[in-house]
């Protein structure tokens, strides 16, 4: 049994600084309004950029006439698709879907635009006001083409093919995976439940929109780019490729980033265009996306259709699971494109030997899809967790017992699922039981369905259990999938004369608290005070090459790099200190606070500042010791770690109107050894808010007739406010992962995964007597009312 408390975990690893709620390094500057978000960076003589975007979902660009715009005082430059094609290469995909052909993606549409909002003409002017005035003067003649706005019609016979140069139909690729003869098992099973689940198109909606400031120094052939991104080094790589500038000539800086959630992974057309303008104009060029642009030009997420089947024996034992899902790609393949993890964890926490998953990626005339917190895992969780409840009802079994019966047991781990994912360790059932107990499930179940006397509403409880893949199983795993980045993280740690340490990382601060976690790790592993560590984040000129902040992987990989760098830095520090103190064995010394001390003779000590000064000065060092005191380390995690848990919702439903309220929401989760419990709670709560937003109201709606986004403004898109969310109770277990440094698992995305299924299952539980099975998101009172319509409560 691998269960430990947080205290045990800290003792096991001898942790002093990690595992505690340490105040964040990032906070003081942000609280004082001194954050340096991209638009806060000012450069003299900066020009500003605005874009003409295609107003149609699909159109041929017949003619562009910018002559009148160029006459406007203050307009500096107009760039069209032809110029971009001549000056820059296409945007490369970072995370291709295996087997997918490459759809060329240039910064401006030259002949055909494939989604509403796609950039067609770019203007640089002395101000954004003037640039927008200029847009009014640009004449673009479009020839609207037939469009498709959903995956089903995109695949229908006779549908217009959106990328005929590359594809014969709108199916980009299909990836079948699995093991066993699933169809045969389904055919002979006691019971098969199935459903077609529609997952809504949503957006991560970071509060800071995208922004970029490009400065070009022609004589140095050097581009400095301030940008709101989760991946500064990958942005540098992509800019170098597209601009055909050597990587060494590009510096990318992401000081403070106002939220990412997966939307700020890799470059967007506007980033390239700002650079092109800057190179022509020889002055800095800034682009700050406005919110209405953001809704059309920054990647959307999640939209998919899952056709899921579960086969079981009459006692409830699951014998096969199958999911064929259609992912909407949108009009182009963004750098992270279609989400891929619906396949990896398609079976959730349930043990099944025979399974089949097929991912089918479909091109439509909508804003490109990209990564968003969970990257396919929330989508598939909704499908399998809805079906588990349906199976329980079909077999008249307790859904908690049905889940428990089928979960992978602690002593069965590690376990390989039918598509090859290696679940590392955990106790899935315990999280489920804790949730059931906390919500008095047994009493509720005993009481049976029906309205409560107090207000006539139907109470319901719903569960959603999940596993979440966090991190990647090494660079080798990614190489097999054609990914253009690694699984590693890196740090450089450098000593200062004052006795403090500088940590340099390519991980930008997007709210995840990485400066704090890195400083905690450095203080922990080197042995110094937390206050003596300063983290310099997100500047490619200073940070070693790395991967970035996404996929719940940063802390896992970075802890490995910090452990190694600190060990080497510490060893050298102790060697120099031993030399200074006239001690032969450096192992007799320890670092305590701001000094190096003898372990037994406490009078033998030397301040860290003295040791660091000597190393930096390079005088009076031990024989053979090189000057300087800095270390760079890389760490490639060998395996992914799987977080797990159960969320549960308590609802009360008005069976007349379909109106409902979520009266309690609970989540029990495990992310291994917690590095900073408060930061983890913040991550989980934030993910849950986005998950509940998706469950209860968020949806980007397209009009199938016109192909237009109908609700693409902040006023029309429902993102939860402080009074829209139920109160959320969190509980934790701590099962350290055996495959990661310190036993940690990722925690950044987990909240987004189980919320929707828990709420839907609770409503269906409340309405058991009516036979309501919800199969789409978001869950609105109207959806519930429609599901209830014509249905009377069945006799018990």
């Amino acid at each position: 049994m691998t269960d430990v408390t947080l205290h045990d975990a800290r003792v096991r690893h001898g942790l002093k600084v990690l595992g505690t709620w340490t105040k964040r390094k990032e906070d003081d500057r942000l609280l004082r309004g001194e954050g340096q978000f991209t638009d806060d960076v000012g450069r003299a003589h900066t020009a500003e950029m605005a874009l003409a975007r295609c107003p149609y979902p699909h159109a041929r660009i017949v003619r562009v006439d910018a002559s009148a715009a160029l006459e406007l005082p203050g307009v500096l430059q107009v760039i069209t698709g032809a110029e971009v094609a001549a000056r820059a290469g296409p945007i490369r995909i970072l995370r291709p879907v295996p087997g997918a052909p490459v759809i060329p993606h240039c910064a401006l549409a030259e002949r055909v635009a494939t989604y509403e909002g796609q950039p067609v003409v770019s203007v640089a002017a002395v101000s954004r006001h003037v640039a927008e005035d200029a847009l009014e003067e640009i004449e673009i003649e479009y020839e609207p083409l037939p469009h498709v706005t959903d995956v089903s019609s995109a695949l229908a016979p006779g549908a217009p093919v959106i990328h005929p140069d590359v594809l014969e139909s709108n199916l980009l690729v299909s990836n079948p995976q699995g093991s066993g003869d699933v169809d045969a098992i389904m055919g002979g099973a006691d019971v098969v439940v199935e459903g077609r689940f529609l997952i809504n198109r949503v957006t991560g909606l970071p509060m800071e929109t995208r922004a970029v400031l490009a400065e070009w120094r022609a004589g140095a052939r050097e581009m400095t780019v301030h940008i709101s991104t989760q991946v500064p080094h990958l942005v540098r790589k992509q800019l170098a490729e597209s601009l055909r500038i050597d990587e060494g000539g590009i510096r990318v800086v992401a000081s403070d980033v106002g939220g990412g959630f997966g939307l700020k992974l890799g470059i967007y057309p506007e980033d390239l265009l700002a650079c092109l303008h800057a190179m022509s104009l020889r002055r800095p060029v800034k682009f700050v996306e406005d919110r209405n642009e953001h809704f059309r030009a920054t990647t959307h997420a999640r939209e998919s259709v899952h056709e899921y089947r579960i086969a079981a024996r009459s006692d409830g034992r699951i014998i096969a699971m199958s999911d064929v899902y259609l992912n909407d790609l949108g009009g182009l393949n963004s750098p992270f494109g279609s989400s891929q993890l619906s396949t990896v964890v398609f079976n959730g926490p349930y043990k099944v030997d025979d399974g089949f998953v097929e991912r089918r990626v479909v091109v439509t005339n909508k804003t490109p899809i990209g990564a968003y917190r969970g990257y396919g895992q929330p989508e598939v969780n909704f499908a399998y967790e809805r079906l588990i409840d349906k199976l329980a009802r079909r077999l008249r079994l307790d859904p908690v017992e049905l889940r428990a019966m089928n979960m992978v047991k602690p002593d069965e781990l590690p376990w390989v699922n039918p598509v090859g994912a290696v679940y590392d360790s955990g106790d899935y059932e315990r999280c489920l039981r804790m949730a059931a107990e906390a919500l008095n499930w047994a009493d509720h179940r005993r009481a049976g369905p029906g309205p409560r006397p107090s207000d006539g509403r139907y109470p319901g409880i719903g569960f959603s259990s999940y596993v979440e893949r966090t991190g990647y199983a090494s660079g080798k795993f990614l190489a097999a999938r054609g990914s253009d980045f690694g699984a590693h993280e890196s740090v450089t740690i450098r000593a200062n004369r004052s006795g403090s340490l500088d940590v340099y990382t390519g991980v930008s601060s997007i709210g995840q608290g990485s400066e704090t976690i890195f400083a905690q790790g450095c203080a922990e592993f080197f042995g110094c005070d937390y206050d003596a560590v300063r983290v310099h984040a997100g500047d490619t000129a200073a940070a070693p090459l790395n991967t970035g902040s996404f996929a719940s992987r940063t802390a896992i990989a970075a802890m490995g790099a910090l452990l190694d760098a600190c060990a080497r830095l510490r060893a050298k520090t102790l060697r120099i200190a031993a030399h200074m103190l006239g001690i032969s064995d450096p192992e007799q010394l320890d670092i305590i606070g701001r000094a190096v001390q003898h372990r037994e003779d406490l009078t033998l000590m030397v301040p860290l500042s003295s040791v660091f000064q000597r190393a930096i000065l390079g005088q009076g060092l031990p024989e053979g010791e090189l000057p300087g005191l800095d270390e760079t380390s890389y760490f490639d995690p060998p395996h992914a770690a799987y977080s797990f848990g159960t969320a549960a919702a308590v609802v009360a439903v008005d069976a007349e109107s379909g109106e409902f309220s979520v009266e309690r929401f609970l989540m029990v989760h495990d992310c291994g050894t917690p590095l900073n419990p408060k930061l983890i709670e913040g991550q989980v709560r934030g993910g849950l808010a986005q998950g509940l937003g998706q469950a209860l109201g968020e949806e980007l709606v397209y009009d199938p007739e016109t192909g237009q986004l109908v609700n693409g403004t902040m006023m029309d898109y429902f993102a939860p406010t402080a009074c829209d969310l139920p109160s959320i109770e969190l509980m934790h277990t701590v099962v350290p992962s055996p495959v990661t440094p310190l036993g940690i698992r990722g925690a950044g995305e987990v909240g987004a995964i189980p919320a929707a299924a828990a709420v839907a299952n609770a409503i269906c539980d409340a309405l058991t007597g009516f036979g309501v099975e919800l199969d789409r998101l978001p869950i609105t009172p109207e959806l519930v009312w429609r599901a209830l319509r014509g249905k009377a409560p069945a006799r018990a």
Binding site: G33, F37, L76, D290, M714
Partner: protein, 176 residues
């Protein structure tokens, strides 16, 4: 365009300008601004007070919330010209010395911020709330804060921080 012509370009369109005199964070400033410049851009780009953020320019997200004559308002919905003769406080007014203000300390203590982009909006909304006579309940605090969006935190710790600040009888810099 020939790069040699760049120096001859005008700095901006000949457009209507207005003169604004406004007290910002205790200092009186007079600026000539384009009539169409909104107040958030004025604070950010004319006065360099970049702690006030811009998130939607539609008065929905609340990133740009500042105090105008003590009242929390969304500065993207005001023109700079409308600030003439008014008193404005921005997030930069809160911490006057080396340390944080009591309200900011509550936010730090309770982990009420992650990316920090929305934080100035919440701080200024809470500052106005703290200056009021009423002692709101937790539910009322949620209502009051609903004018500012946050996508990172799920709000719980923000509500907790504001509640803790109000419970401590926290006064704001705006009162002084």
């Amino acid at each position: 365009m020939n790069p040699a012509d760049l120096d001859n370009l005008p700095l901006g369109l000949p457009e209507p300008n207005v003169v604004v005199t406004v007290q910002v964070n205790g200092r009186t400033v007079t600026e000539q601004v384009p009539a169409r410049l909104h107040a958030a851009d004025f604070l950010r780009h004319r006065l360099g007070l970049t702690g006030t953020h811009v998130g939607c320019e539609q008065g929905v997200c609340g990133m740009c919330t500042v105090l105008v004559d003590g009242e929390a308002v969304k500065s993207c919905l005001m023109l700079a010209a409308q600030l003439d003769g008014r008193r404005v406080e921005t997030v930069e007014s809160l911490a006057t010395g080396e340390g944080l203000s009591p309200l900011q300390e509550c936010f730090k203590q309770d982990h009420a911020l992650q990316c920090g982009f929305c934080t100035p909006g919440f701080l200024m909304t809470a500052t106005a709330l703290a200056a009021g006579e009423r002692k709101p309940s937790r539910a009322e605090i949620r209502d009051e804060l609903a004018g500012v969006l946050c996508r990172c935190t799920g709000y719980e710790f923000i509500v907790g921080a504001v509640e803790a600040h109000l419970a401590a009888g926290g006064r704001s810099a705006a009162d002084d």
